[in-house]
């Protein structure tokens, strides 16, 4: 059953990429536990707006956990305390009355802050642009039924392809590594017969771009997997390393 709770929020405020940020404290009162985390922030923002104050900027869009637009570090955990859940699908029933909640943006050199909790994740787009695709032109595809794909392979490819590109893996990693993100795309395509032809260049180019963007390396902390709202496995990183090694050898 839903109930009402009172919360103290400690939220990172930063005017833009150039200025220094700081924490500010807000009270959120009579919050219905059936609310989503973002709906709770909506309520805080409505109140700030009515007081003529600048509301807290945060990215969000679908609010169904699939677009990957939302995300913040909640009490030290990207997307908050519930496993396999984006911030928009986190509900207030997971918090206690009178709890203090610390809310921060993703923190990584690869993701500069735009304002408050909103960050610039265009590095991910550049990584995909460097090779995260099969270069088939429109119109040149063969009849779909000419290609059989083993169900288990297809399912594993899907598990990796489920990545929503939110960046929680980077935010969770002590090295701010983007390995899970890159490995998910590499694995998705490397597992499918369609992805074989370009697989060597793909993994080399994507890893190179990842390094250029300033993301760190993997030191097997597994924090990324724990933070991933789509529960993408670190085994994809092992697969990427294998693919990368074999691409480098030849």
């Amino acid at each position: 059953m839903s109930k009402k709770i009172n919360l103290t929020l400690k939220i990172w405020r930063q005017k833009n990429a150039q200025s220094k940020g700081h924490f500010e404290i807000y009270k959120a009162e009579a919050i219905d536990t059936d609310m989503s985390f973002l709906e709770m922030l909506d309520v805080v923002n409505e109140n700030l707006t009515k007081e003529g104050k600048d509301p807290i900027a945060f990215d969000h869009d679908c609010r169904e956990g699939i677009c990957g637009m939302c995300g913040a570090v909640v009490n030290g955990q990207p997307h908050g305390p519930v496993r396999g859940t984006t911030l928009c699908q986190l509900h207030m029933r997971h918090f206690e009355n009178n709890q203090t909640i610390v809310i921060e943006p993703w923190r990584s050199r690869g993701f500069p802050v735009i304002k408050d909790l909103a960050v610039d994740r265009s590095a991910f787009d550049r990584i995909i642009a460097s090779g995260g695709y099969i270069s088939v032109k429109t119109g040149s595809a063969p009849e779909a039924s000419t290609l059989a794909v083993a169900k288990d392979k297809s399912e594993s490819a899907f598990d990796a392809a489920a990545c929503i590109g939110c960046g929680a893996c980077v935010a969770a990693c002590p090295n701010a590594s983007a390995m899970l993100f890159v490995a998910a795309k590499v694995s998705h395509l490397a597992l499918l017969p369609q992805g074989q032809i370009e697989k060597k260049d793909r993994v080399k180019n994507m890893v190179q771009q990842m390094d250029t963007e300033g993301f760190g390396n993997c030191s097997n902390e597994y924090e990324c997997e724990a933070a991933c709202p789509k529960e993408i496995s670190v085994s994809t990183i092992a697969r990427m390393n294998r693919e990368h090694l074999s691409a480098k050898i030849k």
Binding site: N16, S36, C62, E64, R121, D125, A144, K151, S154
Partner: protein, 636 residues
């Protein structure tokens, strides 16, 4: 006069003949042409990739931080195609007929036939891109069934088909970004269209990070900016979905077609409270295995499991035995509303019906149901905090998709030369009701397989002057855009943008939602003006124009919804018949089904802008049916 430019000849030959007779631009000359695409969902993303592959210079704009986030990503259930892999009698003709009939005979035959024709190419293209569609143990593609069809023609990728298809289109787009054939502008919102000497030559955008107003010129503009379902405030759309780009184009002369054709989806998670910010869809595919019911007795407050079978009313199966739980969306939604209006609704608000999987779990086992719908069940549990494997889901209809949109001809060009409109943003293929798994099909058909042909045809025949973005018309449009922003910031009133948006949304939901009548619509027209006037006197928009200012973004969109609302209601008032999602209470059969008036309303209503709050000019495009017989839709 409006000319749909439908090619002559037999229905099945029209597209083939048209493709082989339209003008071409030679490969080396394509790079001399520039194209602007606004929106990066299935339609915009696939168009951008395909046009760049052909050699055009493409500029792409989206308001999200990445093109991968467009709301196509949230489509769950699947995509239709007439492959007939299950050997159950499907064909292009049947997909065409189901779509025309599903749309209650208010779409163009030629467009819909073409859609069915290219549907198969889409599946081929997506498989080649690496979209992980569901497969059988043999390794071959699997299909399932969807509403409004008696064959299994829906291809799917778990409950995330839209995501996987969009990532396919996005990756194709990023491949072109890498080759520098596409210039990408994320976090940019289109705020005006620029028309010079009768030709569409560019757009005005606001850079959402620093607030800068910029002009971009091109030889043609393609809008693929999605639907306007968020006018209802609560809808299954993403929060940023809006009418702004197509509304601004409408104000510059583009006709708006059938705005009152809005789709209310039957299976959404019901609203909780006043703070509710959006509604979440539960895929139509669930109706394959879920049975919809309410208690037979009014106000029965027992737990669903305590209500014996003979005290349950499986109302869809009872009313529509042939299609059962898989009737089209408009029919399922109205049937649920009818039960709730009759005090049979369940849940704390009485605005919900059950979607029950108990029989399927008994028959197939929990594991099978989990494999089919696991992510949807998880999402339901997260939001509702109850376990749908043990208790039936509660669902209620919600605004989901808009069949109406900018008017386009057979080439997907609006009445403004050089302005093309793709996907949900146009009106073209779904008539008065869209069938499930057809939106993905249309978005990708438009982007991958139609615009690459028809854009070249226009450019080759257009006499295009050299125009740069420093042309006076751009300067004027920039000034107007800045003025409007400053006006919004200067009001400094007492009510928030969301507060106005909620008020407008509730008004439209009540008066122009699942059921409409003349009195209610007239009241709505009056109230819309009142809300709009108050908005411009009393809204509060914090921050400045030169910032990352999400309140300002929303204010601009709500201001446009407040203007556009007039048009939806006027269109609903004008169409004195019921068809598909447009249900006028005055026009129904004795059984309470939609009663069309083919004598007087077998046309597309294309509206021309005449000023804010002024009566728009109606242009009628007659719908001519040569290949199907107009019948009362029957799903019994």
């Amino acid at each position: 006069m409006i000319d749909s430019k439908i090619p002559s000849g037999l229905l099945k030959d029209k597209w083939t003949r048209h493709k082989s007779s339209i003008k071409l631009i030679n490969p080396a000359n394509k790079r001399k042409y520039s194209v602007i695409i606004v929106g990066t969902g299935l339609a915009g993303g696939s168009a951008a990739a395909s046009l760049a592959e052909l050699g055009y210079n493409v500029k792409v704009f989206c308001l999200q931080d990445s093109p991968r986030r467009a709301h196509s990503i949230a489509a769950q259930g699947g995509i239709n195609a007439a492959k007939n892999y299950p050997n159950d009698g499907d064909s292009i003709q049947r997909l065409f007929y189901d779509t025309i009939k599903g749309g209650d005979f208010r779409a163009r035959e030629a467009n819909v036939y073409r859609l069915a024709e290219v549907s198969n190419n889409i599946i081929d293209q997506c498989v080649a891109q690496g979209v992980p569609f569901a497969r059988e143990y043999s390794g071959y593609l699997e299909n399932r069934s969807f509403g409004g069809a008696q064959v299994s023609r829906t291809f799917y990728a778990r409950g995330q088909t839209g995501q996987q298809l969009l990532l396919g289109a996005y990756s194709a787009l990023m491949k072109e970004v890498h080759k520098k054939t596409v210039e990408l502008h994320p976090r940019c919102e289109m705020l005006d269209l620029v028309v010079i000497n009768g030709q569409t030559r560019g757009i005005i955008v606001r850079n959402l990070i620093n607030g800068k107003i910029e002009s971009h010129s091109a030889d043609a503009v393609i809008l693929a900016t999605g639907g306007y379902g968020n006018i209802f405030y609560l809808s299954t759309n993403a929060k940023a979905c809006n009418v702004t780009s197509i509304w601004r184009a409408h104000k510059k002369g583009a006709f708006f077609a059938n705005p009152c054709f809005t789709q209310i989806h039957p299976t959404c998670i019901p609203s909780h409270g006043d703070y509710q910010s959006k509604l979440t869809l539960m895929s139509e595919s669930l109706r394959n295995d879920g049975r919809v019911w309410v208690p037979k007795n009014k106000g029965d407050k027992r737990r669903p499991s305590d209500i014996p079978a003979d005290e349950r009313d499986y109302f869809l199966e009872r009313k529509y035995p042939a299609f059962g739980n898989l009737v089209p969306r408009d029919i399922a939604s109205r049937a649920a509303k009818e039960q709730c209006d009759g005090a049979k609704g369940v849940g704390s608000t009485g605005l919900a019906v059950y979607l029950d999987f108990a029989d399927s779990i008994n028959r197939l086992g929990k594991d099978t149901i989990k494999a089919r719908y696991g992510n949807l069940f998880d999402m339901y549990q997260k939001i509702m905090d109850t376990d749908p494997y043990r208790e039936p889901m509660m669902i209620y209809p919600a605004a989901h998709y808009t069949m109406g949109g900018l008017w386009v001809d057979y080439n997907l060009m609006s009445n403004l030369p050089g302005l093309f409109v793709l996907g949900e943003a146009n009106f073209s293929d779904h008539g008065a009701n869209r069938l499930g798994a057809s939106a993905l099909m249309q978005g990708l058909a438009d982007g991958y397989f139609i615009i690459p042909y028809t854009l070249g045809h226009y450019l080759a025949g257009a006499n295009l002057e050299k125009i740069q973005s420093d042309h006076t018309e751009f300067k004027i449009a920039e000034e107007q855009t800045k003025n409007r922003i400053n006006q919004l910031l200067a009001i400094k009133g007492k009510r928030t943008v969301d507060d106005f948006h909620r008020q407008l949304g509730k008004l439209l939901w009540d008066k122009c939602g699942m059921a409409r009548n003349e009195r209610g619509l007239k009241e709505a027209l009056e109230q819309i003006s009142v809300i709009r006037d108050e908005f411009w006197r009393n809204v509060t928009v914090t921050g400045s124009e030169g910032d990352f200012n999400q309140t300002l973004e929303r204010a601009g969109r709500v201001a446009d919804f407040l203007e556009f609302a007039n048009l939806i209601v006027r269109d609903a008032l004008d169409r004195r018949e019921s068809c598909g999602g447009h249900f006028r209470e005055e026009f129904q059969t004795p059984e309470g089904e939609a009663k069309r008036d083919d004598q007087n309303f077998c046309h597309v209503s294309a509206w021309e802008f005449n000023g804010v709050g002024k009566t728009p000019q109606l242009h009628k495009e007659p719908l001519i049916f040569e290949n199907v017989e107009l019948v009362q839709r029957n799903y019994k």
